[in-house]
């Protein structure tokens, strides 16, 4: 693979979506004004857990222009992607602060807002479950009394009736007794953090219209247009073909737009007003807590190792705080279990990974899908073990790095293709950050302490076993090609990368590839979702297949025109020609829309290239042992953070943040670097300051960007990025995918660096100066 030379792959082709964005021309979902559209506004819960005694709508109805007001009884059935446990509007009780109780539909947004505030709800408070630990107590208040009645939507979700457990995934690998007996040293580590948010800059928004023939038109800011269609179809019993979902460019997502929420409500609202188009847009406050959030976690990790540092046993417990509803939290707990050890070879593994209900806003996928969270727990434990063994944390990781010949916690056999090269990533990060075990803690002249911390990560995609994508190619009369595919452009550059894959395959210039940026489920071939760093792989393979299909057709017609066999032909630079005499050929323009002989006869028709790709050989995990295959490959990498800590006031500055990722093949270097930097930023922002603050009644005290703090421009470090390229045999040109990876190890590397600086076990997030002060002074610890 390395010896092949590419013309487009590996080049920083400018992203096709940038110019319109720079000039403010890009239209996001909410950037279109439609005459006659009705506006929906929610009334949301002010309590975290309460019975709804009554809802008084009288005053709201007095507002002029109000056309409908819906409450839970409009559709009193639970919905949800994995376990159907959440009514679109609260029924009988509320389970989190911010939960939608009613929706007002009015002629304009002001009327809808006014009426929504005039809705009067009478509550009767219930005891609030404010942490996963509380939720797991044997006498805990139940959040879902009828858990056993909920329908499991996806195989492999295991709720425990009469508890607050929405899912338990178990990993049982090897023999724990053997593992502990072989261990000279054991350490235990605990970490915890409350939920945070994605805070994509574009808040979520949806419009729905029901046409007179019953066709449901949905316009939504989503990472999964086909997924929206699937869930609307399943829960409202509408034929999938009668639903069309359109998604223009999306203003950031980070996993938070991979599930379905507003679309359900907008559909019900439109139905209530005779199918007229209804628009619902989140305010920032709603987007932060009413819509799904970034999951919280309480974790404990126990590691056993020989005195030489070889890991022998790991016992891990994850309590994911999925909040009031499970959404994809059940999948996150499963994904975290699958990769629970981090990228280390351990023969004996025991993991219980719970998705736990609390009275917090409910969680959905966040960039990394359980991995930034599990990696924080594991990497803290690795540094603790290194300290106990008195070895260099870097060497400990290198010694235990997983690789070909090892097995994962779910007992997948790893080979030279299906896992990246952890050791090479580690070696590169050492140089990048300037790691030197004897000089990693240095005091500056003004009394500040400079330290470095590292982390290692891995992740597989945890896609459904049938995750799929397709691509369709059509030709224009100028010989250029339209590429249609349902990958959503979130700013990650997916459309450009897919265009590059196509250009390389057809040996064309990227300027002759027109990638449709918008997605429409009615025209585009099916694609699961644009999540899980899986698009380059799945959609990329679909594009390659479509290109092969087009090439075959072009060569077929070309062979007639050129009086040769198709095998003797090649295609490049817009021409079909004889391999042995390239000067003898025909232009693609003359063939792709049917070849016309000088006498007017034609041969061949329109060339339309089709291709698709399905992930293969994935299996659900065994409920008792976790045995199974959760993803096609493992992307791996190493990260490091350098901080300057001020022991006087517990503040710190992040000096450097570094990532080395095994990308398989970097298709667009500049886009890849941008993804890594952006990922590091998101990870650091989360780890340094982002989280929701709850009072003892479960009320979120900071549901706005004024109080939900985000890392700003002046606080960002110098970013260092490098790549390793261990090709994935099945990947397009060897590529593995990269969207999520930059986030994963940041919290761990930062915490390790700061823990070294202040000589305390910083085991909570976010790492605010106040928290550091508490932990250093022993004034507080993880519950």
């Amino acid at each position: 693979m390395k010896t092949e030379s590419y013309t487009v792959i590996g080049k920083s082709v400018p992203r096709v979506d940038m110019p319109d964005k720079a000039f403010g021309r890009t239209k996001y979902t909410n950037d279109v004004t439609i005459p006659g559209v009705l506006h929906a506004k929610l009334h949301t819960s002010t309590r975290a857990h309460a019975v709804i005694k009554s809802i008084n709508l009288a005053k709201a109805w007095e507002v002029p222009g109000v056309r409908a007001i819906l409450t839970g009884d409009a559709f009193p059935f639970p919905v949800g992607p994995m376990l159907a446990d959440r009514p679109p509007l609260a029924v009988n009780k509320v389970r989190y602060c911010g939960e939608p109780i009613a929706v007002v539909v009015a002629d304009n947004i002001h009327q809808a807002k006014k009426a929504a505030t005039l809705i009067d709800v009478e509550y009767e408070d219930l005891p609030v479950v404010n942490s996963p630990a509380e939720a797991m107590k044997s006498n805990a208040q139940l959040i879902h009394e009828n858990l056993s009645n909920y329908k499991v939507q996806v195989k492999g979700v295991y709720p425990t009736p009469n508890t607050n457990i929405a899912n338990l995934t178990k990993i049982r690998k090897g023999n724990m007794q053997t593992g502990w007996e072989a261990s000279d040293i054991t350490i235990e580590s605990r970490v915890s953090f409350t939920p945070a948010d994605h805070a994509a800059l574009e808040t979520r928004c949806a419009r729905v219209e029901i046409l007179s023939n019953g066709r449901v038109m949905v316009y939504s800011s989503t990472q999964g247009p086909f997924y929206v269609r699937k869930l609307l179809s399943e829960f409202f019993h509408i034929d999938a073909g009668m639903i069309s979902v359109q998604t223009p460019l999306v203003g950031g997502a980070f996993g938070g737009k991979g599930t379905v929420q507003l679309e359900f409500i907008a559909y019900l609202a439109s139905r209530a007003v005779g199918g007229k188009m209804v628009k619902i847009e989140n305010s920032r406050e709603e987007d932060l807590i009413m819509s799904p959030v970034h999951i919280g976690l309480d974790a404990s990790v126990k590691l056993g190792a020989t005195k030489d540092g070889k890991l022998k046993a790991a016992e891990i417990k994850f309590l994911f705080d999925s909040g009031a509803y499970s959404d994809t939290g059940a999948g996150i707990s499963k994904a975290a279990a699958s990769d629970c050890t981090g990228p280390y070879a351990i023969e004996n593994v025991h993991c219980d990974s719970y998705c736990v209900y609390t009275n917090h806003p409910y969680a959905t996928s966040f960039r990394g899908f359980g991995h930034p969270e599990l990696t924080f727990a594991v990497e803290k434990a690795m540094d603790k073990l290194a300290a106990r063994l008195q070895v260099d944390p870097f060497e400990l990781r290198l010694l235990n790095a997983i690789g070909p010949g090892d097995t994962t916690p779910t007992q997948v056999n790893l080979n030279a293709s299906n896992i990246g090269d952890v050791s090479s990533c580690l070696t590169k990060i050492r140089n990048l950050i300037g790691w030197n075990p004897n000089k990693n803690v240095q005091t500056t002249r003004d009394g500040k302490i400079r330290t470095k911390g590292i982390s290692c990560f891995w992740k597989t995609s945890s896609t459904p076993p049938n995750a799929t994508a397709g691509a369709v190619l059509t030709f224009n009369t100028d010989g250029s090609i339209n590429l249609n595919c349902a990958a959503v452009e979130l700013g990650q550059g997916t459309k450009t990368v897919l265009g590059q894959i196509l250009a390389e395959k057809l040996k064309m210039d990227t300027k002759d590839i027109h990638v449709t940026l918008e997605v429409n489920t009615q025209y585009d071939p099916h694609q699961w979702k644009t999540v899980a760093s899986s698009t380059t792989m799945i959609a990329g393979r679909a594009v390659l297949a479509a290109a092969e299909d087009a090439i075959k057709q072009l060569k077929n017609v070309g062979s007639t025109v050129l009086k040769s066999s198709p095998e003797d032909l090649d295609i490049a630079k817009g021409r079909i020609f004889l391999k042995d005499s390239p000067e003898y050929g025909v232009k693609i323009t003359d063939v792709a829309v049917g070849y016309k002989y000088p006498n007017g006869n034609t041969v061949g028709g329109l060339v339309v290239g089709n291709g698709s790709y399905n992930v293969r050989h994935l299996t659900p995990l065994d409920p008792e042992t976790g045995f199974g295959k959760p993803g096609p490959q493992w992307g791996v990498g190493a990260q490091a953070v350098e901080v300057e800590y001020n022991p006087k006031d517990y503040t710190y500055k992040i000096v450097k943040a570094a990532t080395v990722l095994d990308a398989g093949k970097v298709i667009n270097p500049q886009a890849a670097i941008g993804q890594m930097r952006g990922g590091m930023y998101l990870g650091l922002s989360w780890a340094t300051r982002e989280s929701f603050t709850f009072d003892d009644k479960g009320i979120v005290l900071n549901p706005q960007l004024r109080t939900y703090d985000i890392l700003r421009a002046s606080e960002t470090p110098e970013y260092l990025v490098d790549f390793v390229e261990t090709p994935l045999v099945d990947g397009p040109y060897g590529a593995r995918g990269m969207g999520e990876y930059g986030v994963i190890g940041m919290a761990g590397a930062l915490a390790n660096s700061l823990s070294a600086a202040c000589a305390a076990d910083l085991n909570q997030l976010p790492l605010t100066p106040e928290l550091i002060w508490k932990l250093v002074e022993g004034k507080g610890d993880v519950q």
Binding site: P14, R15, D17, M18, P19, D20, K21, A22, F23, G24, R25, T26, K27, Y28, N30, D31, V32, T33, E62, V63, P64, H110, Q111, K114, A199, A200, L201, E202, T203, L249, V250, G251, G252, A253, F254, S283, R284, L490, G491, Q492, G493, Q670, A671, G674, R677, G678, G679, M680, Y681, L682, Q704, L705, R706, I710, R712, A713, S714, T716, Y719
Partner: protein, 160 residues
């Protein structure tokens, strides 16, 4: 109790060197009027609370969060939105430096930076940081945005 919800007036606004008329409610923000009445949707609502800067426009050359000014207050001032920024230097710098991912923050940044460069052509790193502080970009990690600003400043100096 719900009277006056629609109380408003006919105003003229000087937007992008054109005079535009609209009937606005007294409580309409400039952001709302730009987007809903004039279709100038380059100004983005990210928070409607003055916290994110994605709604930034220039009012008499000064970057202002358009979610934090009423339309009626904008009367008599010169308003520039991304659609009316004829100098495309910064847009090109953003493209050239890959300072754009999802693009939702981009118009706000570009107007903010345009004002910075007009006001302080000699801005140093500290000044740049201070000005960028008012906006949030959730995608890029800010490095490319800073580079776009610095490169624009350098290019200006060379051209002078």
């Amino acid at each position: 109790m719900i009277q006056n919800m629609q109380a408003g007036q006919l105003i003229s606004l000087a937007i992008n060197d054109q005079v535009k008329e609209a009937y606005v409610r007294n409580s309409d923000t400039l952001l709302y009027t730009l987007r809903e009445q004039f279709g100038l949707v380059g100004a983005k609502p990210g928070c409607n609370n003055g916290d994110c800067g994605s709604c930034t426009v220039l009012v008499d050359g000064i970057p202002i969060n358009s979610c934090h000014i009423l339309s009626v207050e904008a009367v008599g001032h010169k308003i520039t939105t991304i659609e009316g920024l004829t100098d495309s230097t910064i847009q090109q710098a953003f493209i050239g430096n890959w300072a754009i991912q999802c693009g939702y923050c981009t118009p706000g940044y570009i107007l903010n930076i345009y004002a910075l460069i007009q006001t302080y052509p000699d801005a140093d790193d500290a000044m740049i940081n201070e000005w960028l502080e008012s906006n949030i970009c959730r995608c890029t990690g800010y490095q490319e945005i800073k580079e776009a600003v610095k490169n624009t400043l350098i290019a200006r100096k060379i051209n002078e």
